[in-house]
Symmetry: C2
Subunit: 434 residues, 2 copies
C-alpha cells in the first residue's frame, strides 16, 4: 500500500520530511570500476571498446563499431508505416515547439558609449547516449536529438549498446528521423569514454547527453569538465494535484503510467478530498489487475506511492514546491491559477485532459526533465543545452576614458597592477577615438 499522509495529523511535518528524504535508488558505488574503464579507453581506444563490449554485451564489434547507413536503411524498412508516421508526427511537434526556444543574439550601446552584447552559437559535436534492451525508447532519441539539431549542432553522434548483437530497429529509425549523423553500437561507461576522449572509430564530442544506468551516470560525472554533460537523471516521478471533482479513474491511469516505468518510479496524489483519495486508491487496484507491467507498477505504487490529504489546495502549494516534481498534473477547477503559483516543477500538465503521457510522446515539450527534487535548480532539456553564449564588449577611446578609472581603482585594491596598467596605457594615451 502507498503511504497516506494527512496535513491535519500532528505528525505530518515529520512524516512529510521523511517521505521527501526517502531514497528510491540504491546508489551503487561504481566510481572505481568506471575510472578503470575510462582509463582503458583513453589508453587503448577501439581495442578497449571492443574488449569491454565483448565482456558486457557479449558481442564482437571488431571492424563494426559504427552502424552503417545500410543497416539503418534496413531497420527503417522493418518499422510498420503506422509507427513511422507516429514517430514523424512526434518529431514534427517536438521540432516546432523547440524552434521557439532559439535564443536571440543581442548587441547594444549603453549611455557610456560602451557596446555590449551576447551571441549564441551551437556546440560543434554532441554525443547522445541511448540505453539498450527494453529501455531503448525511440521517443528518447527524438527528445534528445531534435533539440540538438534545432540548435544547429552539425554533428550528433549516438551510442547505443547492442547486447547479444541486437539494436531495436525503432531506435535506429528514430535516429534517422531525428537527423542523428553517426550511430555506434557501444554502450556503458566505455561509450561515454569514447565520446569524451575519442578513439580511432569515434571522434570526440564536446557534450554528452542522454539517460543511462549507474555506470553511464558515473562515467558522465567523471568526464564532466573535459566535455559538457546534461543532468544525471534519476527515477521518474509524477505528482497529481486534484480537487473533489476530479475523475478518479483518469488519475489512477496517470499514476500507473508513471509507476509502470520502473519499480523506483514514484506516483503521488495530493488532494483536498478524502472521497477522491479513496476512489483513486480503489481505481488503481482495479486498473492494475489488467496491466501487462503490473508487477513493476504495483511495486512502485506500494513502495513509493503516496496519497497526501490537504485541508485545501492552497495548503498544497508549498508541499508541491518542496517535492519539486518532475511531472505535475493539475486536475482542478482552479488549474490555471494553481499553475501560476507553483514555483518548482519540471513540467506542468494543466487540466484533466492533459495526461502526462501525452508529453512523453507528442505534446511537443521535452520529456527529459529534472528528477529527484532537482527542478528546484534545473530545467528540462532544451535548445539552450546545445548552445552557448559568448559575451561581447567593445569600448571606444572615449568610453574607455569614461569607465576606465573605476576599473583602475578596483584593480588597485585587488593588487592586480597589470590589470590597471592595461587600462592606463590606453587612457593615458589621450582621448583619440579608435
Amino acid at each position: 500500500m502507498p503511504i497516506r499522509l494527512d496535513t491535519k495529523s500532528p505528525s505530518f511535518a515529520d512524516a512529510f520530511a521523511t517521505f521527501l528524504a526517502s531514497k528510491r535508488e540504491a546508489s551503487a558505488d561504481v566510481a572505481a570500476a568506471v575510472a578503470d574503464i575510462i582509463a582503458a579507453v583513453r589508453a587503448r581506444g577501439d581495442d578497449a571498446v571492443i574488449e569491454l563490449s565483448r565482456t558486457f554485451d557479449r558481442v564482437d564489434l571488431s571492424g563494426r563499431i559504427r552502424v552503417t547507413e545500410a543497416e539503418i536503411d534496413a531497420a527503417l524498412k522493418e518499422v510498420p508505416a503506422e509507427t513511422l508516421d507516429a514517430l514523424k508526427f512526434a518529431k514534427a511537434r517536438i521540432e516546432a515547439h523547440h524552434s521557439r526556444q532559439l535564443p536571440q543574439d543581442e548587441r547594444y550601446t549603453d549611455a557610456a558609449g560602451v557596446e555590449l552584447g551576447q551571441r549564441w552559437t551551437p556546440v560543434d559535436a554532441v554525443g547522445l547516449y541511448v540505453p539498450g534492451g527494453t529501455a531503448a525508447y525511440p521517443s528518447s532519441v527524438l527528445m534528445n536529438a531534435v533539440p540538438a539539431k534545432v540548435a544547429g549542432v552539425p554533428r550528433v553522434a549516438m551510442v547505443v549498446p547492442s547486447p547479444d548483437g541486437v539494436i531495436a530497429p525503432l531506435v535506429l529509425a528514430a535516429a534517422r528521423l531525428a537527423g542523428v549523423d553517426e550511430v555506434y553500437r557501444v554502450g556503458g561507461a566505455q561509450a561515454v569514454a569514447a565520446l569524451a576522449y575519442g578513439t580511432a572509430s569515434i571522434a570526440p564530442v564536446d557534450k554528452i547527453v542522454g539517460p543511462g544506468n549507474a555506470y553511464v551516470a558515473a562515467a558522465k560525472r567523471q568526464v564532466f569538465g573535459k566535455v559538457g554533460i546534461d543532468m544525471i537523471a534519476g527515477p521518474s516521478e509524477v505528482l497529481i494535484l486534484a480537487d473533489a471533482n476530479a475523475n478518479p479513474a483518469w488519475i489512477a491511469a496517470d499514476l500507473l503510467a508513471q509507476a509502470e516505468h520502473d519499480t523506483a518510479a514514484q506516483s503521488i496524489l495530493v488532494t483536498d478530498s478524502g472521497e477522491l483519495a479513496d476512489a483513486v486508491a480503489r481505481a488503481v487496484e482495479a486498473q492494475l489487475t489488467t496491466l501487462p507491467r503490473r508487477e513493476i507498477a504495483q511495486a512502485s505504487w506500494n513502495d513509493h506511492g503516496a496519497i497526501i490529504l490537504v485541508r485545501d489546495l492552497e495548503e498544497a502549494l508549498p508541499l508541491v514546491d518542496r517535492v519539486a516534481p518532475e511531472h505535475l498534473e493539475i486536475h482542478a477547477e482552479a488549474a490555471e491559477e494553481l499553475t501560476a503559483r507553483i514555483r518548482h516543477a519540471g513540467a506542468i500538465f494543466v487540466g484533466a485532459y492533459t495526461p502526462e503521457a501525452i508529453g512523453d510522446y507528442v505534446g511537443g515539450t521535452n520529456h527529459v526533465l529534472p528528477t529527484a527534487r532537482s527542478a528546484r535548480f534545473s530545467s528540462g532539456l532544451g535548445v539552450y543545452d546545445f548552445m552557448k553564449r559568448t559575451s561581447i564588449l567593445k569600448c571606444t577611446a572615449a568610453s574607455l576614458n569614461l569607465i576606465g578609472p573605476a576599473a583602475v581603482r578596483l584593480a588597485e585594491v585587488e593588487r592586480l597592477d597589470a590589470h590597471g596598467r592595461s587600462i592606463l596605457i590606453r587612457t593615458n594615451a589621450g582621448p583619440t577615438d579608435a
Copy 2:
C-alpha cells in the same frame, strides 16, 4: 620564454595539438579527503564545521559562524569612499547588463489546439563561495551575486574562509552592495557541504556557485545532484588576435594582465605579423621589469605563454576555435568581421580600446567565464544560471483526440501500456470538451 609556433612550419599541426593538450594544473586527487569532510558535516553539522575551521583556518568559530550585520557595517566604514564608489559603479553596470538577460515566459496555442509554454522562475536559495586570502576579490562577489539578485533569487548565502580570523573588508562591502543576504565565515569543502546539506547555523541552498581551490572544486563535484553547481573553473587565459597595425605595448600589457593572475594562467598572441610578434615579446619583457607581481607573471608567460604566427588572420580562425579561449581580444582592422566568424570563446573584446581588464570590473558583462577549452560547450555566468524553466502543456478534449492516437501508438511499441491507457481512457470518453 613562451613557446613560438608558426603555421608555415611542417611540424605546426603536431606542435599545436601538443600545446592544446598541455595541462596547466596538477590535478591533486583530493576526492577521498573531501568525501570525509562532507560526511563529517552531514553527520555532525556545525560541530564539524567548527572543528574543520580550527584545523584549516586556525580560527575558532564557536557561536560566530555567521558574520553579523554589525560586522559588515564596520567593514563598510573601513572602505575608502573612492573604492566604494568604484564598487557601486561596477555593480550598477553589471546589474544593467544582466537585467537584459531576463528570459521571457511564453504561452501559445498551436494549430492542433494544444497550449504549450515555458515559464522561468528563480532558484529559491543560492550559495556563493568566495575564496579567502589574496584571492578574495570583491569584483568576484559582484559578478556572482548580482546576476542571482537580478534573477530574483530571494536568498543568497555567501561563504568565505577567515584564515587566522581575517576577512577582507572589501569582500564584505561588496557582499552588502550586491544584496547578499547572509555571510558565513567558513571556507573549504566544509563550507560547500554545509551549503548543500545544511547545519543548525546554515540553512541548505539549492545551487552553489563561485570559484575555489581543488578542495572546493572536488566538493562541488561531489554535491552536484543534491544541489546545482556552476562550472568548475580552471586557471584563466587570454588569446589576442592582432594584425600588423596593432599596438605592441597595449598587447603586452594585456598579456601580462592575464599572466599576473596565477602562474598557471595562459596568455597567447596570434598574429600574421612577425614584426608585431617580436615587438610584443620585447614589450612584455620591458613591462615585466616594473610589475609588482612580476614573478607570477613571468612564470606564467614563460611556462604557458605562446606566440603563434599565421599566414593571415583567416588562417587563425580555426585555431582560435580550437583553443576556445576564455577571453579573446581582437586588435585588427577587421575586428568586427572576425568577431562574427569566431564560434568558440567565453567573451570577445572587440578592438584595441577594449582591454580584457575592463570586462573584469566595469564593462557590465560577467567575468566568470568558461576556461580550459570549455567555451566549446558552456557559457559564462548569467541570469540563466539562477533560474530554471518549467514547461507547460494543456490539452482540451478535442486536441487530445487529435494528437492522442500517435502517442498511443508510440506507447504501444515501447510496451508502456499504462501510458497508452491513460490517453485512451480520456479519448474513449468521447470528444466532450473540458
